[in-house]
């Protein structure tokens, strides 16, 4: 009964928001476009399996991607926001048990995602008109989506329960879910064979979806391995992970005290103490306790503020992020050194490593850039500080630029921690140093585009959570959208396929520094086209940001 009360409240609040209607429209609009794009154009309904299968791939991958992009936004704030606003204590004061709150929040949050999934069924059914679509596969697809929704929702709830701020919950949820999606297939991409690699890639929602719909794709990278079915592996992982998440959230809610951020008013003001702290664990390179100087005259005050608040004020998180990138790049370096010793396969292995290095850089920046820049304007609106800033002499342009400088600086600092990977590339057989520079310039441009996408989302959305979700969608669409021809090459002409691939930073960077990959599809100067494409996208994003922010400053 109490569970129903929580569920009713959550569903009611969500269904009354304007955001819900907009999301349903966007979701159905995307899926309808997919169907329209794949509809046979020769006025004859084909009985060939390819058309219906392509449609199924797109609907499956498309729905999974959209749902995974939305669910953290729906769930990550559910407990921490209640805690921050003091409403959680009122829930805890009632007869509701921690268990009821967790489950109620969970089902309430994913209810909307379930509604989205169900509203798309008529569009999937349209695909059946094309014929030869296997109903059994469709059912498996929906079971997979259902599992994905519940797993991602519970992950978001657990992170929300243990997070210290709404922002960290949101960022943590997105990073965790995207990391599971894209990092677990890495062993397969690095051509590790065997059951371990198969299990790892099927842990990924997108990896297992591909295994389910198009198992042949993985055979491009690895030998077939016998073991449990992809859906079984995925379902087992999701079940275990969700149970763990329920336990973590329950444990956190049992304690009525909210987790607090350690902030010490103590100030390290002398050089000796400051150095002492630098030389002892955790080696404060950027000491949050140290007195900082005034904002210099020529420095953008917003940039300086963000630097103090988010980088220097939360040094531990920043150092953790850098450490994770350094460790990952060192592992990759070690692996590539060991693997390329085998001369027979060295070229093939080297190209695989290049793909992983470039893809991991782009994935890293697509993970980093949106949450860094997306709260820029929306957070000011949430805090109520936008009006106060409007009264100052800063102006919209300096506020936007200050936030952007910060996002760029942090992203580049973290990306530069991946230096060992670039060193590996430089020492690999068949790489010219100019090509390496071209790849780096493409990745930097992609970084600029990703951070600007975050700013545009921030200026469009009133809430930071929505802004981060929209920024991720923008970034994923720009950085990974032009990769679709790799999977669905038979549905478009070779010219269009080549043009689309030319726009993708991963493909172009890999083409520049690999010996044989994508050389038959795109030309050596394609990096210029990519830079142009990313430049146009960046211009669109900066225009949207400028227009919206200036408008906000004028009229409020």
């Amino acid at each position: 009964m109490t569970l129903l009360a929580i569920l009713y409240k959550e569903t009611l609040v969500l269904s009354r928001s304007r955001r819900a209607g907009a999301l349903i429209l966007a979701y159905l609009g995307f899926l309808s476009l997919v169907v329209l794009w794949n509809w046979p154009s020769n006025e004859v309904l084909t009985l060939a399996a390819t058309s219906s299968r392509k449609l199924l791939y797109l609907i499956g991958i498309g729905q999974a991607t959209l749902l995974l992009a939305m669910i953290p936004g729906l769930t990550a704030g559910s407990i921490i926001l209640e805690r921050e606003t003091g409403r959680l204590i009122t829930l805890q004061a009632t007869h509701l048990s921690p268990w009821t709150i967790v489950i109620g929040k969970w089902i309430g949050s994913v209810m909307f995602a379930l509604i989205l999934m169900l509203t798309a069924i008529p569009i999937v059914m349209l695909g059946l008109i094309l014929g030869t679509m296997d109903l059994w596969i469709v059912l498996k697809l929906y079971v997979h989506l259902l599992i994905t929704i519940f797993w991602a929702g519970m992950t978001g709830i657990a992170i929300s329960a243990i997070a210290k701020t709404g922002y960290s919950a949101l960022m943590g949820s997105y990073i965790f879910i995207i990391a599971i999606c894209v990092l677990t297939p890495v062993p397969t991409l690095l051509q590790f064979g065997g059951i371990g690699s198969e299990i790892a890639r099927n842990i990924s929602p997108l990896g297992s979806m591909l295994s389910l719909l198009a198992p042949d794709i993985w055979l491009l990278f690895t030998e077939p391995a016998s073991g449990p079915s992809p859906l079984t592996i995925y379902a087992t992982f999701c079940l275990g992970s969700s149970l763990l998440s329920v336990f973590v959230a329950w444990l956190s809610l049992r304690n009525p005290d909210s987790p607090t951020i350690h902030r010490h008013s103590q100030l390290i003001n002398n050089r000796r103490d400051s150095w002492k702290r630098k030389l002892t664990f955790p080696f404060y390179l950027f000491d949050p306790q140290k007195r900082r100087r005034q904002i210099p005259p020529l420095m953008n005050p917003v940039f300086s503020r963000e630097l103090r608040r988010r980088m220097l004020g939360q040094t531990t998180n920043f150092i953790r992020a850098i450490s994770a990138v350094v460790i990952f790049s060192l592992i990759l370096t070690l692996y590539s050194v060991l693997k390329t010793v085998d001369a027979a396969n060295s070229l093939r292995i080297a190209d695989s490593i290049r793909v992983v290095v470039i893809a991991s850089q782009v994935v890293l920046l697509s993970l980093l850039a949106p949450p860094l820049s997306a709260p820029a304007i929306s957070r000011e609106r949430e805090l109520g500080t936008i009006d106060v800033l409007r009264l100052t002499k800063l102006g919209p342009w300096r506020i936007v630029l200050g936030n952007w400088y910060y996002a760029i600086m942090v992203s580049i600092t973290i990306l530069s921690a991946a230096f060992p990977m670039w060193w590996v590339m430089k020492t690999m057989h068949g790489v010219q140093i100019e090509s390496l520079y071209y790849s780096i310039s493409v990745i930097l441009m992609a970084l600029i585009c990703g951070t600007l996408a975050g700013l545009a989302a921030s200026s469009l959305c009133r809430r930071s959570g929505t802004a981060i979700g929209v920024a991720y969608l923008f970034t994923i669409a720009i950085l990974f959208g032009p990769l679709l021809p790799v999977v669905f090459s038979d549905s478009i002409s070779p010219q269009l396929e080549s043009r689309l691939l030319t726009l993708n930073p991963i493909v172009v960077s890999v083409r520049n520094i690999s010996v044989g990959l994508f050389h038959n599809l795109i030309g050596p100067d394609s990096w210029k086209t990519t830079l142009g494409y990313l430049g146009i996208c960046s211009s669109i994003f900066i225009s949207i940001t400028w227009w919206r922010t200036a408008r906000l400053f004028r009229s409020g």
């Binding site: 951020i261 007195r291 005034q294």
Partner: protein, 317 residues
Amino acid sequence: MIETRQLSKQYGSVTALHPLDLEIAPQEIFGYVGPNGSGKTTTIRMLCGLLTPSSGAATVAGVDITTDAAKVRSAIGFMPDHLVPYDGMRVWEYLDFFGAAYRIGRRQRKKRTQEVLELTGSSALQDYFVETLSHGMRQRLGVARALIHDPDVLFLDEPTNGLDPRARVEMRLLLDRLKQQGKTILISSHILHELALMCDRVGFIEQGKLLVCGTVDTVQRTVHPDRIFEIEVLHDAEAVENAIAQILEPSKLVSISRLENLIRVEMKINRSEISDLLADLVKQGHSIIGFRELQADLEEAFMALTADVEFGTRSNE
């Protein structure tokens, strides 16, 4: 210092503020009173140049808000009702940021930061992280932030909201100090007895309409034009009661009541007649030990003025 002429704001079919005429003199503390959603914040936001008026005109510190909103913004200090300070920053860093945002030079900014911290009694808090401050401290920090560029006019939206009694008294003393420094302050609140203590004049607004405006005394007189006095006598209160009834003409005596040695009289008389009444009572040999006028409560005045307003018909702010 602040002047509005037929200033109004319309949101579609909803009128948030009906044409408003208001004048606030330099160094005046003006209390803007009204329930939630009555149009207080809308007025303040328009006067700060943050919201474009639908019609009418206004000047703040001599600058027209409709033609030169940008200039108005830098001439005023504004403390919104709901402002969450940036976390992860120390108090002085927070003020330093806003100083830099107003393009104050480094030396001047350092000096000004110390001044506002001192003025608001927050010097001891300068190295605290803002998220560790209590609500009262945050409100003081909010005032310090609004003062960082030394504006002549201050707009404070609900500055005493949620403060404990001690913090309220401190806030009142702070506003007094600011007034002495020559600042003009418009303060909105719905805590009426606080406003009665700190404001020179008050204005009541409800459903976007200014109902009454003037000194606290004038506003109280609007509701209670008769003067109410309490007279305390040593003994024989009945005799004093009869004497008052004889001295005053029946048309001037509204009501008289007695409780032990305390007599409460409601009269329609001016100041000199009050003096005459007291002199007559003493001349007749009555032992008067207390004679004081009861001030009508501002809350009472507000309730009386807004008695006709139906609940649920308020316009959106």
